[in-house]
């Protein structure tokens, strides 16, 4: 009974992803199932269209910048929270998940209002900075969990053996924390790469990949989006397989529900 229910739920979760593959290889010009024949033309169209490739490149660039920025700020903040003894520490720790709880549409129009005054609409780094706000909570929560598990005596031993504080952190603490850092980086990148609502407002005419997909879904009924989606699913699967080799699985909910 339990297996039947679970099996149905697994099918419900996986089937929508799987049906995109046959559609993406369809030779029809329309979303038809079963596809009338096999063809790679939607992949050819994606890779041959500069609008699609530009949007992909822009999203990769914004995602990379978001990852670096969120890791930089997040690592400092997590260290400060775990090692420091100052008032307001628990306030910061609880408040850090606020950007997850605040509806994205509300945050989006708030940042849109600010950016349009500053003339930042359409700038890729503007989107990256806004995405950093969304990614930061995930990064901090994952790193806090990692830092709490870390035995601080290892770092103290390194210092006792003559390493400076920065050297001890760099050669002992960060390598041990590496799985948490990888998880945090993955979360930050995906948060930015998949983000649509904020980008819809502040990316202007310079579309990100999700914005390009959204517009395409609304305006045309053809399977290019299926091809793009299939590529994304394959890449995410590859990253997940890679991730299981790095021990600590990246789960936002584990992080959220301490």
């Amino acid at each position: 009974m339990l297996r039947v229910v679970s099996g149905l739920v697994f099918a419900f979760l996986m089937l929508p992803l799987l049906v995109l593959f046959p559609i993406s290889f369809s030779s029809g010009t329309y979303l038809r199932f079963p596809p009338p024949g096999f063809s790679l033309k939607w992949y050819v169209r994606y890779f041959g269209d500069t609008a699609w490739i530009d949007a992909t490149y822009r999203s990769l660039q914004i995602g990379a910048a978001t990852t670096v920025l969120a890791l930089l700020l997040g690592i400092l903040l997590a260290f400060g929270l775990v090692r420091g003894r100052f008032r307001g520490r628990s306030l910061i720790e609880n408040g850090i998940s606020a950007p997850i709880i605040v509806p994205h549409i509300v945050l989006s129009i708030a940042i849109y209002g600010l950016f349009s005054r500053l003339g930042l609409i359409g700038e890729w780094y503007g989107v990256a900075i806004a995405h950093t706000v969304l990614a930061l909570p995930f990064v901090v929560i994952v790193l806090l969990a990692g830092l709490r598990d870390f035995d601080v005596n290892l770092e103290l031993a390194a210092r006792g053996l003559g390493a400076g504080r920065l050297a001890a952190v760099r050669t002992v603490t960060l390598p041990i924390l590496a799985p948490s850092v990888y998880s945090a980086a993955f979360l930050a990148f995906i948060t930015s790469f998949d983000e649509l609502v904020v980008a819809m407002f502040i990316a202007g005419a310079n579309m990100t990949l999700p914005k390009k997909m959204f517009d395409n879904i609304l305006s045309e009924i053809e399977p290019t989006v299926a091809a793009v989606s299939a590529i994304q699913i394959v890449l995410v699967s590859a990253l997940l397989v890679l991730g299981t080799r790095l021990r600590r699985p990246a789960t936002p909910t584990n992080a959220l529900t301490r």
Binding site: S6, V9, F10, F12, L13, M14, P16, L17, V19, L20, L31, R32, F33, L73, L76, L77, F79, G80, L81, G84, R85, F86, V102, P103, H104, I105, V106, L107, I109, A110, I111, G113, L114, A130, T132, V133, L136, E155, G160, G164, R165, L166, F193, V197, F201, M213, F214, I217, L218, V225, S229, Q232, I233, V236, S237, L239, L240, T253, L256, T257
Partner: protein, 291 residues
């Protein structure tokens, strides 16, 4: 700054190092860059939106939002959809979490892959997949017609049901994972002992599993409900403009009408409702559990 100046410090004895590792002010400084970002791009923009909604010194925008029925109806519908989605996720998520927690490691790994892969696939891709499945000429209609079960395609897309299906698909992993993690913390000897003492399966579920996983259930319910309240992409695409949720109204006011004051008031209302739901679900129940 604090770190680099300390980098050339002479070796310290452990006790000294321990004391200085609690560097109170230095640690505070480490939090500044992130807090500055949050202040400039989170607190201030939201405060400005808040201020805009009260511009003119009166409550006219709130009056417009809360009287006349249109926006309160949409708010209620948003609540209703979020509640249905949360309930569906709980009902189908709990058995899956239970299976994952009790099966063999190999099956668990496979099951986790089925939960994590959709979780990491973008919401947009998954919503598009549901459009492909549910559309007039979509896969489900095609299969039903080709097999002779249907004459005319069923209008499944652009309906509340489609929105709920899509949202459950997006939110389900967020229900399964916290419940799974609560289930794994249960001492496996407890249900065994109950079974040995003659308890039936329903009794074991009611007296052991449900109470001991309540925290995980609350965490999942809170997350799914609160995030569902602010959904935009899935209802916009699967509802086809027929199923309006609150986030869509806010987007419309800003993009189509540039009605910043009114959008500000609607945002404050959505935010207040979200925070209220979060506080009630999370804090209220946590206190009840003696947390």
């Amino acid at each position: 700054m604090t770190l680099s100046s300390a980098a050339s410090a002479p070796p310290l004895r452990a006790a000294e190092a321990r004391r200085s590792s609690a560097f109170p002010l230095g640690a505070l400084a480490l939090t500044w860059p992130a807090l500055l970002l949050l202040l400039l791009l989170f607190v201030l923009p939201l405060a400005r939106l808040f201020a805009l909604s009260f511009e003119g010194g009166n409550l006219e925008w709130y009056e417009k939002a809360l009287t006349g029925g249109l926006y309160t109806t949409i708010l209620l519908r948003t609540f209703e959809i979020a509640a249905i989605v949360t309930l569906c996720c709980l009902l189908i998520g709990y058995p899956v979490a239970f299976l994952l927690a009790t099966t063999t490691p190999a099956w668990r790994a496979l099951g986790f892959a089925f939960v994590m892969l959709p979780l990491w696939t973008s919401v947009l891709v998954r919503t598009y997949a549901w459009m492909v499945l549910l559309g007039r000429n979509g896969i489900i209609n095609r299969l039903l017609i080709d097999s002779g079960l249907l004459e005319q395609p069923l209008p499944m897309l652009n309906s509340k049901m489609a929105v709920i299906l899509g949202m459950v698909h997006v939110m389900l992993p967020f229900m399964i994972l916290p419940i799974y993690s609560a289930l794994t913390r249960i001492d496996p000897d407890l249900p065994k002992a109950a079974r040995g003492l003659g308890a039936s399966t329903p009794r074991i579920v009611m007296t052991i599993y449900l109470p001991l996983t309540l925290r995980g259930i609350v965490a999942g319910v809170t997350l799914v409900f609160v995030v569902s309240l602010g959904f935009y992409i899935t209802p916009a695409l699967l509802g086809g403009g027929k199923v309006l949720m609150f986030a869509m109204v806010i987007e419309q006011q800003v993009r189509e009408f540039l009605a910043w004051n009114f959008a500000g008031a609607l945002s404050v209302i959505l935010l207040a409702v979200t925070l209220l739901a979060f506080t009630v679900l999370n804090q209220g129940v946590a206190r009840h559990l003696g947390d």
